[in-house]
Amino acid sequence: MGAWIMAGVTFREAARKRILWMALAAGAAFIALFSTGLYFQLKDQTHPANPLITREAVNSVLMVGLYAVDALAIVMTVLTSVDTLSGEIASGTIHAVAAKPISRWQVLIGKWLGFVGMVTLYVALMVGGITLVTYALSAHFISGVTPPHLLRGTFLIWLECVLLLSLTFLFGTSFSALTNGVMALGLHGLAFIGGWTEEIGAVVHSQRAVNVGIVASLIIPSETLWRRAVFEMQSPLMGVLRFGPFSNASVPSGAMVAYAAIYLAVALGLAIRRFGRRDL
């Protein structure tokens, strides 16, 4: 019960953050730009191409759009949640709550759930917005394009954000907001480089480069979830051709997704443990 009360108030607190509204505004601006670009792309095709090829092209453009959405969602998740623990401990806001008859783990899980709610809403709005715009425009010119396995892909993007959220919570039990943000985004940067190293390694058949990427994914499996999401949402043809902005030359396995889920749970578990023991 206490956790749900905390979740409710944290969700409302998170929804009031300027960063969230900036991220929403940035997202809206991005979708507007994206749809304008897509509109002209489809309209200005001088030679009416094979609709099949056009559909492939639209799907590729959508992947680029989703990539931007993914990046925005990650930055928004980390920046909104980065000071929720350390900030409230420093300001004393947490004292009146932690002295109530609810356990520390309930305080932490409640706050986490509040942010999960916000992240869910953001990811749903952004992914929903961009796929809807793509569908509407492509339906107008050729026929509606929707990515295959959209829900699975959206879930993976969401999972990536929740993983970074949990990591931010873990760091927030020990470090100041600034340190926390640098650590979480820095780790994600590592995952990003690792992901590309693995992709390029696979293209040039360098197993050692692939291994470097896998090690990076084990250290922080965030980017790996995005790459799996691409695999789920990319058109099958692109997947087979291994051609496009996201080659998917080396697709993260289901085991890697499971690893990421366990990683998330462990980060959250450690956050609960650390928060339960620390002095407030």
């Binding site: 019960m1 206490g2 009360i5 108030v9 409302r12 607190e13 009031r16 300001s91 004393g92 806001t93 004292h95 009146a96 709550v97 932690a98 002295a99 109530k100 008859p101 609810i102 356990s103 520390r104 339960g276 023991r277 002095d279 407030l280």
Partner: protein, 324 residues
């Protein structure tokens, strides 16, 4: 969770006659070390139920850390603490505890009513209970005219008032007030005093952490003096203030012999012209002294006992350096 398991207090749960029924708080050699710095050196306290207990000490003496240990916000490095019969920090026991943290603050987009409902729900109170309790509390702390404002528009004093209200929402058996009058104007301070009195008459125990000694002097039954994380002295306030009293006397025709005779009741007798100052163990001896002076032929114009204020006692006990 910062629970302090007190191995020796096993009888608490077994015997209703145990001292836990008598004491709201019992600590033994409670210690807290942050890194290498000792914040609380060995706190041994007994706070009887139903009393207003003043916890006094200079800044940095370990008052807030002690309260936090009793609430389970800070894990003790050593020692035992029992609060309302349960180990300090026990989640269930906290149902009966109210706490006003020093510098109360909370999400400032809430209205005072929303804040109180939120805290009430954290205590497990039902919407029906809160429907009556919240307006009553807003009224009690004088915030009814501001009930539609957001906390962001509140002054420091108003925040302190709403903090006080959330500490009372569950009608607690034990209330911790950490510097409750900080940021309050004289009217607000008067309000805090009145609320403490009301809570005491309801049977609640109040643990008051303060360095505003005049406040403590008016409200407390018992005080403990803390310095460098150690309790120097715990006394009933009336004993503390009763104790040795300085008396100044203005009298004429007071001979050297009569002056000497005052030694049987008083210490440190000093005479300067018609002014005499002396120390007596208790003001009970004053009538006898007056009779003696009159009998020895002196004309007595004035006998004024100068009771030490709590502030003077504080400085005596804690030292002028204030523990710095």
């Amino acid at each position: 969770m910062a629970e302090c398991h007190s191995g020796g207090n096993h009888s608490i749960t077994q015997s209703p006659n145990h001292t836990s029924a008598q004491f709201a708080i019992q600590t033994h050699d409670l210690r807290k070390v942050f890194g290498g710095k000792v914040a609380v050196r060995g706190l041994t306290l007994e706070v009887p139920r139903g009393e207003v207990f003043g916890f006094l000490g200079p800044n940095g003496a370990g008052k807030s850390t002690s309260i936090k240990m009793l609430l389970g916000l800070v894990a003790p490095t050593g020692g035992q603490a029992t609060v309302l019969g349960a180990p300090a920090g026990n989640v269930e026991a906290r149902r009966q505890i109210g706490f006003l943290p020093e510098h109360f603050r909370f999400y400032d987009w809430l209205t005072p009513g929303e804040l109180l409902r939120l805290h009430g729900r954290l205590y497990g109170m039902s919407p029906a209970q809160l429907r009556d309790r919240v307006p009553a509390l807003l009224d009690l702390v004088g915030l009814t005219p501001h009930r539609d404002k957001r906390l962001s528009e509140f002054s420091k004093g108003m925040l302190q008032r709403i903090g006080l209200a959330q500490a009372l929402i569950n009608e607690p058996d034990l209330i911790f007030l950490d510097e409750p009058t900080s940021g309050l104007d004289p009217i607000g301070r008067r309000l805090v005093r009145d609320i403490i009195k009301t809570e005491r008459s309801r049977g609640a125990t109040v643990f008051l952490n303060s360095h505003l000694l005049s406040e403590v002097e008016i409200t407390c039954d018992r005080v403990a003096f803390l310095k460098h994380g150690e309790v120097l002295e715990t006394r009933e306030l009336k004993d503390l203030l009763e104790g040795e009293t300085r008396v100044s006397i203005r009298a004429r025709h007071l001979g050297a012999e009569a002056l000497h005779g005052l030694g049987q009741w008083a210490t440190a007798v000093r005479a300067e012209g018609e002014h005499v100052t002396l120390g007596v163990p208790s003001s009970d001896v004053l009538p006898e002294i007056v009779r003696y002076l009159v009998a020895s032929g002196a004309d007595v114009y004035e006998v004024t006992p100068q009771r030490l204020s709590l502030e003077e006692r504080f400085l005596q006990i804690v030292g002028e350096d204030g523990g710095l």
